[in-house]
Symmetry: C2
Amino acid sequence: MPSFGLRHRRAWASLLSQLLRPSGLVCIREVHFHSQVSEAVITSQLKPHQEKSNFIIKTPKGTRDLSPQQMVIREKILDMVVGCFKRHGAKRLDTPAFELKEMLTEKYGEDSGLIYDLKDQGGELLSLRYDLTVPFARYLAMNKVKRMKRYHVGKVWRRESPTIVQGRYREFCQCDFDIAGQFDPMIPDAECLKIMCEILSGLQLGDFLIKANRDCSCFEGKHMDKGLGLFPLSSQVNDRRILDGMLAVCGVPESKFHAICSSIDKLDKISWNDVRHEMVAKKGLAPEVADRIGDYVQCHGGVSLIEEMLQDSRLSQNKQALEGLGDLKLLFEYLTLFGIAEKISFDLSLARGLDYYTGVIYEAVLLQTPAQSEESLNVGSVAAGGRYDGLVGMFDPKGHKVPCVGLSIGVERIFTILEQRIKTSGQKIRTTETQVFVATPQKNFLHERLKLISELWDAGIKAELLYKNNPKLLTQLHYCEHMGIPLVVIIGEQELKEGVIKLRSVASREEVAIKRESLVTEIQKRLSES
Amino acid sequence: MPSFGLRHRRAWASLLSQLLRPSGLVCIREVHFHSQVSEAVITSQLKPHQEKSNFIIKTPKGTRDLSPQQMVIREKILDMVVGCFKRHGAKRLDTPAFELKEMLTEKYGEDSGLIYDLKDQGGELLSLRYDLTVPFARYLAMNKVKRMKRYHVGKVWRRESPTIVQGRYREFCQCDFDIAGQFDPMIPDAECLKIMCEILSGLQLGDFLIKANRDCSCFEGKHMDKGLGLFPLSSQVNDRRILDGMLAVCGVPESKFHAICSSIDKLDKISWNDVRHEMVAKKGLAPEVADRIGDYVQCHGGVSLIEEMLQDSRLSQNKQALEGLGDLKLLFEYLTLFGIAEKISFDLSLARGLDYYTGVIYEAVLLQTPAQSEESLNVGSVAAGGRYDGLVGMFDPKGHKVPCVGLSIGVERIFTILEQRIKTSGQKIRTTETQVFVATPQKNFLHERLKLISELWDAGIKAELLYKNNPKLLTQLHYCEHMGIPLVVIIGEQELKEGVIKLRSVASREEVAIKRESLVTEIQKRLSES
């Protein structure tokens, strides 16, 4: 950081105009994208001093600026999420936005193509991080940390085709909480689910959706099958060992596990009949094997379903499945003690992250309501996670494992929903926290205003004034009403003569005269009362 | 954000071992860096199942992870800085980490080579942002915003040769505050300087350096010439119009302004004699012209120096210089009302950002002390800024201007200094905020502990327990002492029978029995008292 700000303005403005042809139809962006001609060549070919009327100014595809209004909502969500992570004793960690490319290689399977690589500018090969989990595992292995409860809030980047209406972006914020270390079974796992519940109920996403979900008939697909009733926030749990065991006992050859799982994964988008058709017609599964799978993956429920599966004649013969079911039973015991068992549904179709996770997996899905959009939309997971006991070992030179379990909150989707809700409600959002405005009714009072506001700032009071030598009083008062500033301090000739200041409440329009020397104390008193 | 966590584990682990030659001397990083051979080729050439003992795991050059201890310090700095920005009524803005490449083109002059470009993966050409100022100007122009007071905290990236001891990184955090809009002269400019002073004194960087600066003789260069005495935090102000005017009246041909300014800019690193030599021998300036410049650039002072310059026979004949001096005089008038005039030094040698800034420029420099490092170091600017009235117009299709003035706080250098200070003091930093620990002296009390801690969490109390079925009491109490947790809640057979809970203060080791149902209230009372 050798210098702040910007240097060397140079010929940007003139280059801009030079780049535009007489026709005015070629914009800079197009020149860069399609021709890759060097600047020198373009400059010499094009006539100077054209108007830059076709210059398109925008953010990169799939990204956006967050306006002050949006930042207020975003900050509220993050405060809530981070507050919960701290309540559970997590430490904060930060990692660079990019990693050595090979740190990310072979971690994301078919999604690897979505990783943003940096240009090779004669140094290391770098990629923007794709999530916060791999950097965490890299940190643990690099620093030989065997035990850690950490949270991480940061942006991640994925080159997806953005569907912005659904809250999908190429740059988005994630909030991760993870517990690394060898502990007794299912205690950290249960805490992760507790955290997910605390955050999702704290954000009152449920309330929001309850209202709009009265007309249940407009929802389709597996979510309505689940009998979630009026609670459209669906939290599912499964275990990859149960999935593997289930596929094995149904008669799926191990070579087809991966393909069949990716079919099962589609059950939140298409019907069982379509999934079955894909398994048989495209993936060559015997119809009776597919039907056996169908019996399982359409099951969902609580502890009683786990008990049922433990008694299941086929499944109970599979060692892996038995282990997974035993752990899930223990997990539900803990979830009951936490008072959240009824919020979690055991779902044999939950197949997410199969290749990566090693034990329990979970996902919270929000259903977008018809009130918000033309058609009923599944806005996808707002929180998800699971146990990944093998990832740290992939980074460790000797393969030493550090078992981990964690969760990730999808801030972007939650943000989209809350922003929509605030828009609908017409609620006004304050974008500043200013408490006091310093005004004057007379001309030539800038010096007094500056002295006054400086005192307020030095006392820690949030204060503003207009950057005008002689602003009108009405303009100043309008500004306060517009910005939601509660108090106005007014100084004029009369006040200066009497050694007082007028303190005005913007809401009630009441004014009182206060001794100049007691002003800060009086304001602090008023602010602590409100 | 289609899925959370990771998918498709695949053959990373096996690839790792395959990549290592029998000799064990080739690490993955080297293979990637130097050969660029496709994975398939490497895999087929190398023998599988080698130990991965030479796998080097690290963060990219010039970047670092921030540990929980470091994050606590970082967060404290950011809270302080953001608190000040909010006190001055700023709104928060966020922009993407990368911009369309052409948005950054021709903005940074000779530093453009330091911009990180993203790889062309068949889409737009993108670059990581180099600062927060250009994205702000782009935002204003894109949204046709004519007036805005905003702050922005975020990472920026520069491909510099990192000198980590001086707190220079390729990824670093900046905190920017800017005021955009057409206002009466110097009022926003003065507020920016007030903010810089509030932040730098709030962080107590001065105190820190005062102590170590008693031996002034070990400092060299222009900073000691300034007579800053015991205050090694030097805040300088200048105006590019004064600089231009000064060069003109000294007889520098306009074609040499840029070259001569970059020589003047070196005065914080080399002596006037060396700078003069460079001007004459390398840049072909007449010796008498250089001497005239020397008379000016070695000047520094307050209002009296401005008055002196206004009377200067040569300078007062230059319109630009007169304008600049007039504005600076007004600025110092406001700085006096803000009570900070004596903290700012008018310095004719301050030439930073010359090509970019259009008016007042300022920079706060900290001098590293010999106590912290082997030799006396100028750790460079910790805060800087100025007026840039032309930048927004460079983005606007019709060139509409929005005058701006702002400042940037260099968090990384401040962080380096504070971290060093904490290390030296031996001060212990708590990395969690846990208030209560839930413990048991007996076996088989996991269920009771889970019920209890769940109650605490639901009441908003920050609580932890050990993830063990049967932890030893001593282990639990040691954990509290180690982590600085103030309260312990203890439940055992006796307490369960009597319907009470023991509440223990870790510091005093006092224990009191409390009715189970009053536990939350009692804890909240204790916490509000402390």
